[in-house]
Amino acid sequence: MLKCREVAELANDYIDKDLPWHKSMAIGFHLAMCKHCAGFVSKLNLVIAVVREQSPETISDQDADIIVTKVLASRDKEAQDAPAPTQNR
């Protein structure tokens, strides 16, 4: 049977389903027998849920205005700098 230490170190991979099946089964077996490790894995799952609940970082209206203004200015400059289309004779 795996040791608690090994289970703790593989817990993230177990949650992410990033382990070979036999390792995953061994951890599942350990978790069924060990309430400490089961509790630890539950808490890690809760950490992931907390991260997902974080409100996305947004920028202020003013900063967004500055970025959009720069984008539009760059687009206009590119249009001005572009060579005029040649006419076929």
Partner: protein, 205 residues
């Protein structure tokens, strides 16, 4: 997040208000990814170039992928082009720390020599993330812990656990190995685990 149909149509028409809303929502995330690729020096410029490229490409955006994925692809390409142009591999700015593939995540003293938990783990009193987030002080501590993470660690956490991107995509975007991505993600999660645990066990951090 997928853009709603009316919003998508507005974006395709390069509607300024819809574009500004996009900038408001995604700028910080793109800066974080750009910093993880090119470092602090060029990140803001790279993201500004990304917005210009995105604005010009919006009329052709089909909406087959989430707009966030589309923007992340553009920032990755813009950042990579910038790196090549600067002929440097990595900007070693403050806050840009690479991580080794060292697999040790937890202190040895958490376990007995026989590999069992040395101390019983405390009870967090809830299984609900929402319930945890209602504690304003804890929310603040989590914000601080995330802001102090090395930039690549935070970028991987954001891409995997917030954007729920596949590991292979995270590796491609940040140009890191699968094992490096795992280590970064595990460290980030453990850091937050420790933050929450310390607060709930002692009421302080």
């Amino acid at each position: 997040m997928k853009a709603s149909l009316p919003e998508l149509e507005q974006l395709r028409q390069q509607d300024h208000a819809a574009f500004k809303s996009l900038v408001t929502r995604y700028h910080q995330r793109l800066v974080l990814i750009a910093r993880a690729i090119v470092g602090d020096t060029w990140a803001e410029e790279v993201v500004q170039d990304t917005w210009l490229a995105a604005y010009k490409a919006l009329p052709n955006f089909q909406g087959r992928s989430a707009i966030s994925t589309w923007l992340i692809t553009i920032v990755k390409n813009t950042a990579t082009t910038r790196l090549r142009k600067e002929c440097r591999l990595v900007s070693m700015d403050t806050g840009f720390a690479t991580e080794s593939d060292d697999e040790v995540f937890m202190d040895a003293d958490r376990f007995t020599p026989s590999g069992k938990w040395a101390n019983q783990l405390g009870d967090w009193g809830t299984d609900s993330a929402s319930a945890l987030m209602e504690q304003q002080e804890l929310q603040h501590l989590i914000d601080v812990a995330m802001s102090k993470m090395p930039v690549q660690q935070r970028a991987v956490l954001m891409m995997r656990d917030v954007q729920q991107m596949e590991v292979v995509d995270v590796c491609n975007i940040l140009d890191i190995s699968h094992s490096n991505a795992r280590v970064l993600l595990h460290r980030a999660r453990f850091k937050l685990y420790e933050t929450i645990n310390a607060y709930l066990e002692s009421g302080e951090c």
